[in-house]
């Protein structure tokens, strides 16, 4: 993953560097070669003028041998390809290559072309047009023609070779080899390429090092952390020291795992409580019938044996103990019964005050000071006022017991805070468009019943159990197929399609499924590879929701760390014979039934704080 990012960065930066250096050097080389060529041109022109002027006198005197010697001498200079003079008919009169003398040059030859391109030959040419570059045996050659014009001294010369009405008498053609120049340009090109390549290499190395140090390491750490968390170790913490975006990510990641672990504890507890409640109800019912047999017969016998004190005493024990069993079963039923709260819109302050008035006596006897800190104008909450009162009374009594008779303080505060629903909200119900229940109680994910759907993909079929926590994707796949491209989800009971026609996942473009949560809208999601996109508008709509936070903290003996996770379990008690061990589990059940959460923070000998979050309905 990190390597890929590194490669991508290097690739992109490399291409950019090559492009920039390429374009720059292309223009650079071009202008340099243009300048070089212009210099050669100037040089050629100068040479051509020099030849023309130095031969002028000899021409007038018609001393052909001297002209030959001059041209030959000049033509043998290194870099000069050829120096020749053509007459008007195109015949080569002088040339540094002697074998060419006397040859005719075609009007279309490159040396004549400039003037003879038009039908009527041009007589005057600007310098620029007099030069030309052509190839001679694969090396470039620059040629410059210099027309020799007729002047009075020509036609008045003794040889009378030229007539007065002629304009151009011939052409001096000098050609200079460009091999040197070309070599220079080539060298420049090679240098540029070497420079570009080494720049790209250096850049890549730098980026590679940077990515390794600043991206690779933190990403590796994050990947490690997600793997750890994936395997269930929610206590894993990443180093938050960095101040860059990775530091921020680490911070929010740690925050997420913290929240996740809290949510998991809550959900686990929720499920355990629910099943325990059902169990308790079932057990209570089942036990009550045989207990009735015991109690009726024994109490009946008890009456009959009034005259037999020995048996009567024993029977009394049986009746007494059976009645005790009856009370135990009754408390179990009370525990199971919290499942249906009778909710009303109520003012939480009133409930707190009622609860406080119940325990006030006990607190003052134990010299405990109760400090209430309730935010003003808290909106009403929808709760079962009786159950809530029970919660506060129990927590206050617990706090008082923790402090004991030596005296201390209890702080009770209530305020409104904001919490986010994504990754926490439990999808408790799910149905297909034909109202078939999709919840699978047999396959549980993190203790919660999952959502079972049938999958068709590439002609094969199978099942999937979706994670019932909104925004989380610990799905269980019961097939070996790849879902990356096309798949279809249907209701396992009626085979009705659950796909959203034409809709695609905004993250990975996979097809989107959707099922209904009765009276809470639809949940959409996708099964694309490595994609965990889900959308539950009804829940998202609120965004962060308002919660009522109630804190009850005491200055009591505290709870040892190893016991903190157990305190909400039924029958867990540190009060010995004094308590039933049902109190906190009942509280937990009540808060859960109100879609709220309760957690505990404690330090031995410093005190314990219970924190309750209850949803506030916005309307």
């Amino acid at each position: 993953m990190s390597k890929k990012i590194g490669f991508k960065l290097i690739f992109i930066v490399g291409i950019a560097a090559v492009l920039i250096i390429g374009i720059f050097s292309f223009y650079n080389i071009r202008s340099q070669s243009d300048a070089l060529q212009a210099e050669v041109e100037r040089h050629a022109n100068q040479l051509s003028e020099t030849v023309k002027h130095s031969t002028r006198y000899d021409m007038l005197l018609n001393q052909r041998d001297r002209i030959h010697t001059i041209i030959n001498t000049i033509g043998k200079q290194p870099g000069i390809h050829d120096v020749r003079v053509l007459n008007k008919e195109g015949e080569i009169i002088y040339s540094s290559h002697e074998q060419d003398i006397g040859k005719m040059v075609d009007k279309n030859a490159e040396s004549c072309y400039a003037c003879h391109a038009a039908n009527e030959p041009l007589e005057r040419l600007p310098i620029k047009e007099r030069t030309r570059i052509f190839y001679n045996d694969s090396s470039r050659v620059l040629g410059i023609i210099n027309p020799i014009y007729n002047e009075s001294s020509c036609w008045t010369a003794e040889c009378h070779a030229h007539l007065k009405n002629q304009t151009v008498l011939g052409v001096l053609d000098v050609t200079i080899s460009l091999t040197d120049v070309d070599e220079q340009i080539k060298r420049g090109e090679i240098n540029t390429v070497i420079f570009a390549l080494s720049a790209v290499a250096a850049l890549s190395l730098l980026i590679g090092l940077f990515v390794k140090k600043w991206v690779d390491k933190p990403v590796k750490e994050l990947v490690n952390a997600t793997r750890e968390i994936g395997t269930g170790n929610l206590n894993y913490v990443i180093n938050e020291k960095k101040t860059d975006e990775f530091g921020m990510l680490a911070k929010s990641f740690n925050n997420m795992t913290k929240k996740l672990s809290e949510a998991r504890v809550q959900l686990f507890q929720s499920d355990k409580m629910a099943s325990l409640g059902r169990l308790a109800a079932g057990v209570a019912h089942e036990i009550n019938n045989p207990l009735t047999g015991v109690l009726t017969y024994s109490s009946f016998l008890l009456k009959k044996t009034v005259n037999n004190p020995e048996i009567n005493e024993d029977l009394k024990v049986i009746v007494r103990e059976t009645k005790r069993s009856r009370e135990i079963v009754k408390s179990l039923l009370d525990f199971a019964r919290q499942s249906v709260p009778k909710k009303n819109n109520v003012n939480i302050e009133e409930i707190i005050n009622k609860a406080v008035s119940v325990v006030e006596n006990q607190l003052s006897i134990n010299h405990i000071e109760l400090i209430k800190n309730i935010e003003k104008d808290i909106p009403q909450v929808t709760v079962d006022s009786n159950q809530m009162q029970q919660v506060f009374i129990n927590l206050l009594v617990n706090a008082s017991d923790a402090i004991g008779s030596k005296g201390g303080k209890i702080n009770l505060s209530a305020s409104v805070i904001k919490l986010s629903p994504y990754g926490i909200t439990h999808i408790k119900q799910a149905v297909c468009p034909k109202r078939h229940d999709l919840i699978d109680n047999e396959t549980k994910i993190d203790g919660m019943p999952s959502i079972k759907l049938k999958v068709y993909s590439n002609g094969t079929q199978g099942y999937i159990n979706l994670d019932p926590v909104y925004g989380r994707s610990n799905h269980i796949f019961h097939f070996p197929m790849n879902l990356e491209k096309d798949y279809k989800l249907v209701c396992p009971k009626c085979e009705i399609s659950l796909m959203e026609e034409g809709k695609r996942c905004p993250d990975c473009n996979a097809p989107v499924y959707s099922f209904e949560v009765p009276s809470r809208g639809n949940v959409q999601g996708c099964l694309g590879k490595n994609c965990s996109w889900q959308k539950w508008e009804a829940v998202d709509l609120g965004g962060q929701k308002d919660y009522l936070e109630i804190k009850i903290s005491d200055s009591g003996c505290g709870i040892p760390k190893e016991n903190l996770s157990k305190i909400f379990e039924p029958f867990y008690s540190t009060k010995g014979q004094k308590g039933t061990g049902l109190g906190l589990s009942v509280i937990w059940g009540i808060i859960d039934n109100h879609n709220g959460t309760i957690k505990v923070e404690s330090e031995v000998n410093k005190g314990t704080t219970f924190i309750i979050h209850l949803p506030i309905n916005q309307n």
Partner: protein, 279 residues
């Protein structure tokens, strides 16, 4: 409620066998126990293993009193109560269940049962309820045979009061507290009523659970089921001392507790509004 309006005691059809008690329970051990206990007091007891069977027996025979379990396979206790009402069978019914929730108790009494005994019960708890049932029958037959309104058999609950079946009443006070007490019919079903045991202030009452214990001269105890949930603000010490106060004026001077209700708005809906008794 219907039982009270057209209460009859002996609509014995031709050739119908008369029994004192019919016990319906899906557990044989409980049937056996009930039969044994009631027989010891010389009641004739018949039994049925489920509601269907009971209905068949009810066609053939006449039963003065029915003891019925709520949770049974097939037709449950509440369906059975409705079926009785539809067939105009007016024998009083005592409901019992192992799943003794507040809801079950309140619903039983709302649907016309005269008493609710949570399982497991002792032989006395059962017998006392049966004896009260028999007394209830007597009162109903008095009411039936008395053609004119010359003598008052029992005083019905005043308007604007709420009652939990025939046992307790509740009345809202302007201050938000609630007064509760026992109905005249409940007191009248106790023969040789001798006095009451009350709970003390600050104790919590739960709707449908026992809140006071009525006693007769033979030391039998009859629990009164509370009509609402709440904390006791005040107990009527006068009534506790002087039982005649209860007998003479059970709805006003003979109140038992003043409560701070926890959710009266919801709970009162599950009670019978006494204003409708007068229609």
């Amino acid at each position: 409620m219907k039982n009270m309006d057209n209460g009859t005691t002996s609509p014995i059809g031709r050739g119908k066998k008369q029994w004192d008690i019919l016990v319906i329970d899906d557990e044989q051990v409980i049937i056996d126990a009930v039969v044994k206990i009631c027989s010891s007091e010389n009641f004739s007891v018949d039994s049925a293993i489920d509601a269907q069977n009971a209905l068949i027996k009810l066609v053939k025979n006449y039963y003065r009193l029915i003891i019925c379990d709520i949770m049974m396979p097939g037709m449950d206790g509440f369906d059975f109560l409705n079926e009785l009402m539809e067939r105009k069978i007016t024998s009083p019914v005592i409901m019992t269940t192992g799943f003794s929730t507040v809801d079950n108790a309140v619903r039983s009494l709302y649907n016309g049962a005269i008493d609710f005994i949570p399982k497991p019960f002792t032989s006395d708890e059962l017998l006392n309820s049966v004896i009260r049932g028999m007394k209830y029958l007597k009162i109903q037959s008095l009411l039936k045979n008395q053609r004119d309104d010359s003598a008052v058999v029992y005083v019905p609950c005043p308007a604007k009061y709420y009652r939990l079946g025939y046992s307790s009443w509740a009345s809202e006070e302007s201050t938000g507290s609630i007064l509760i007490g026992a109905t005249d019919l409940f007191i009248k079903t106790i023969e040789n009523f001798s006095g009451i045991d009350l709970l003390s202030t600050d104790e919590e009452l739960i709707q449908g659970n026992s809140c006071a214990y009525f006693k007769d001269q033979s030391e039998r105890i009859y629990p009164l089921l509370s009509p609402v949930t709440g904390r006791i603000l005040e107990t009527n010490q006068e009534a506790a001392k002087d039982k005649t106060l209860l007998e003479k004026d059970p709805y006003f001077e003979g109140w038992l507790y003043r409560l701070l209700p926890s959710d009266s708005e919801y709970e009162l809906k599950k009670l019978i509004n006494c204003s409708s008794d007068r229609l």
